[in-house]
């Protein structure tokens, strides 16, 4: 059974793009439009990896990360996927395991997902 990835991003096109590519590679994909929806999704099923956007309405990335750690600890690794100037710094600040800057190459997306999802198994 392939790992499940939760993608949290407020941009529908990004969600569509990432979902399409990950499914092509055989991953199970769950999407959420903001942090609040993301928390609901993890409460239903804990994914193997979370791809997290930073700037979102309702509940943003940092708030989601804090809430997720509080409720679930290190139950799943978080990879920050952001258009912010310094993705590395964002990842450090929210205590995420990895980071990816927008715009990204598919190869980079795949390798970072594979790395973190594999670690989880």
């Amino acid at each position: 059974m392939m790992p499940t990835v939760l993608v949290i991003d407020d941009d529908e096109d990004v969600l569509d793009l990432v979902r399409t590519r990950l499914e092509e590679e055989g991953y199970g994909v769950v999407v959420a439009a903001n942090g609040r929806q993301g928390l609901e999704a993890v409460a239903a099923t804990m994914p193997d990896l979370i791809l997290l956007d930073m700037k979102m309405p309702v509940m943003d990335g940092p708030s989601f990360a804090a809430e997720f750690r509080r409720l679930h600890g290190a139950a799943a690794p978080i990879v920050v996927v952001t258009a912010a100037e310094d993705a590395r710094k964002c990842a450090q600040e929210v205590g995420a395991e990895g980071w990816l800057s927008k715009p990204f190459e598919f190869a980079d997306l795949m390798s970072i997902v594979a790395d973190h999802a594999r670690e989880q198994r």
């Binding site: 941009d11 990004v14 258009a83 912010a84 100037e85 710094k89 927008k102 715009p103 598919f106």
Partner: protein
């Protein structure tokens, strides 16, 4: 005894008598030989010639060459009389000196004789007449001009004063006659300093003049007595002072109408002037300018508005100006009245006297809060735009790539090119945004490095592969002489390489080889990117690394770009302790080389 021996004896005896007579006289006598040596000088002459310097009664030093006997020796004519100040003991009267040439029976100049005589009343009159101070004698009790010297007569060039009564032959002098009569009656002297009189400078031309004077009543051996007046004209001095005062008032008015605040300090660091703009600026941040006395007061005031962080004294323009330096500084301050941050631009320059000594400083400050606010808005705007563009770029590029991959072999070559162009241009927009953001960080001095061990060979391989994928016409070759690991910010180094390779490809429009080489040289890792493109115009080389500077603007090789790439690349490398340079031979092609330190840096 021969007859001529007798005559010689008689002549010598006569000479001895003459010599004795000359020695006995009180006047000085001197005889000069043709070559100027002193053949004879009696005691009074020796005393005078031995004096350190001969001066006139008006204080001018007389050179030896000016003495009438020396002149006579030079010209063969009697020398002009010179009046000398009495000797150092001051007991003697003034002395006048004369000189005449002496000729042989055949008419040859054989020497000169001179005399120093007690000056006659006429000599004294000549001297007084030429004195630079105005002198007048008014005969009483009618007060008629009996004597005026040249200087005094020059005060009223239109009338010959001597012989005229004071009140008829004089200037418009209200009250002066009464005062003079008082001097006559009481014998009390009258002094005045810079008193204004109307003076007839030319027929019909009455002009104000300023005079400083003394009038005293003098008793004479033979009546009637007289009033002696000494008068110095100080018009130029007074007018000069008045002009200076007027200029000061005028300058103050100009300085007060300036929009910039001006504060002037003297050499003791005291504040000597605060203009109206500075008054307003200080009042606007709740400072009462009147309580400020010196630089220290002003600095304390500034400390109060910089949120607890005392200003570095040494960097402040006013402090540097008092030390002789001109500088300008931008300050951020807290405005307690508006409860907002403000920005001030402050500059100061030293004030120097004609000898170049610092005698004070002038500081000029302007409130550039609005500019600072605009600058902040601009930065914010760039950041928001860049951020907002990144997400759409992600999806454009992502879907174009996805489409290409899912259609695979079913795409025509033209369709494949179109999709690659979509990806390439999405990358380009992204790169422009990154460069803009980086340039901004560099400008603000906020370029942060995240250092980690970086395998340079691996990094170069990755970046060249990625660029090569989009530059089909170009043959990008990488040569690695030895593996190198440096401590650096890998992401930033990738950006440097992307910039250099992007330029190499962009300015080699017809394709061709681009060679990337990595080697170790001493304590440095050295990377070069060599293209065979259009090269860099000689005259534009000096500014190549400047922000927004583009070497090919307005040339046939203008392939676009922001002009930020090399600026960003250099800043990144320099913040790593490295450097970048290039060569571009006349035949075309450019090689950009950068180096990074291998060891740990301080």
């Amino acid at each position: 005894m021969e007859r001529h021996d007798v005559e010689r004896e008689q002549k010598l005896a006569r000479l001895r008598l003459i010599e004795a007579a000359l020695h006995a006289t009180e006047s000085g006598v001197v005889v000069l030989e043709r070559d100027g040596t002193v053949a004879f000088a009696n005691a009074p002459a020796q005393e005078l010639l031995a004096a350190g310097a001969l001066i006139t009664p008006h204080g001018r030093v007389i050179e030896k060459g000016e003495l009438p006997m020396v002149r006579a020796l030079e010209t063969g004519e009697p020398g002009a009389r010179v009046v000398l100040h009495p000797g150092p003991e001051g007991s003697r009267n003034m002395i006048v000196t004369e000189g005449k040439p002496v000729q042989s029976s055949s008419g040859d100049l054989i020497g000169a004789v001179g005399a120093f005589l007690e000056a006659s009343p006429r000599d004294l009159a000549i001297t007084l007449g030429q004195a630079p101070i105005g002198i007048a004698v008014l005969r009483g009790p009618e007060l008629i001009y009996e004597y005026v010297n040249e200087a005094f007569q020059s005060f009223s060039p239109t009338i010959q004063l001597v012989g005229l009564p004071f009140e008829t032959a004089s200037w418009e002098l209200p009250g002066v006659l009464a005062r003079l009569k008082e001097v006559w009656a009481t014998g009390e002297p009258w002094h005045g300093t810079d008193v204004r009189f109307r003076v007839e400078r030319a027929p019909g031309l009455l002009v104000d003049g300023y005079f400083t004077f003394s009038c005293v009543k003098v008793k004479r051996r033979t009546p009637p007595d007289a009033i002696l007046g000494f008068v110095l004209e100080t018009t130029a001095l007074v007018n000069g002072l008045n002009d200076a005062h007027d200029r000061t008032v005028e300058l103050k008015a100009i300085i007060d109408t300036m929009l910039e605040g001006v504060v002037v300090f003297d050499r003791d660091r005291r504040i000597t002037l605060i203009n109206e703009a500075a008054h307003k600026q200080l009042s606007d941040i709740n400072v009462e300018p009147k309580v400020l006395e010196n630089v220290e007061d002003l600095l304390r005031t500034l400390d109060g508005v910089t949120e607890g962080t005392p200003i570095d004294r040494g960097s402040l323009p006013v402090v540097r100006a008092l030390a002789g330096e001109t500088s300008r500084l931008r300050l951020r301050f807290w405005n307690p009245v508006t409860s907002r941050h403000g920005y001030a631009s402050v500059g100061a320059a030293p004030l120097r006297d004609p000898q170049g000594q610092v005698v004070g400083a002038v500081a000029v400050g302007s409130d550039i809060t609005e500019l600072g606010e605009l600058d902040r808005l601009k930065d914010e705007f760039i950041r928001v735009v860049a951020h907002e563009l990144k997400t759409p770029i992600t999806t454009i590029k992502g879907f174009a790539t996805a489409l290409g991959e899912s259609l695979g072999g079913r795409l025509s070559p033209a369709q494949g090119r179109m999709l690659r162009a979509l990806c390439r241009n999405a990358d380009r927009i992204n790169r422009i945004m990154c460069e803009l953001l980086d340039a901004q960080q560099i400008e603000l001095g906020r370029l942060e490095l995240v250092e980690e061990p970086v395998d340079l060979a691996e990094l170069l391989q990755d970046v060249t592969d990625r660029i090569a994928a989009n530059a089909s016409k170009h043959d990008i070759r990488l040569t690695v002489s030895s593996p190198v690991v440096v401590r650096a910010d890998g992401e930033r180094l990738r950006e440097v390489m992307r910039i250099l390779l992007d330029n190499a490809v962009r300015y080699s429009p017809d394709g061709g080889e681009v060679n990337v080489a990595l080697r170790v040289e001493g304590d440095w890792a050295r990377v070069s990117v060599c293209d065979h493109g259009v090269g860099i115009p000689e005259e534009r080389r000096a500014r190549l690394f400047e922000r927004f500077y583009r070497a090919h603007t307005n040339t046939p090789f203008d392939y676009g770009g922001t002009g930020l790439g090399l600026y960003v690349a250099r800043a990144i490398l320099e913040s790593h302790g490295g450097s970048i340079w290039y060569e571009s031979p006349a035949g075309g092609g450019s090689t950009f080389t950068f180096r990074l330190p291998l060891g740990t840096r301080p």
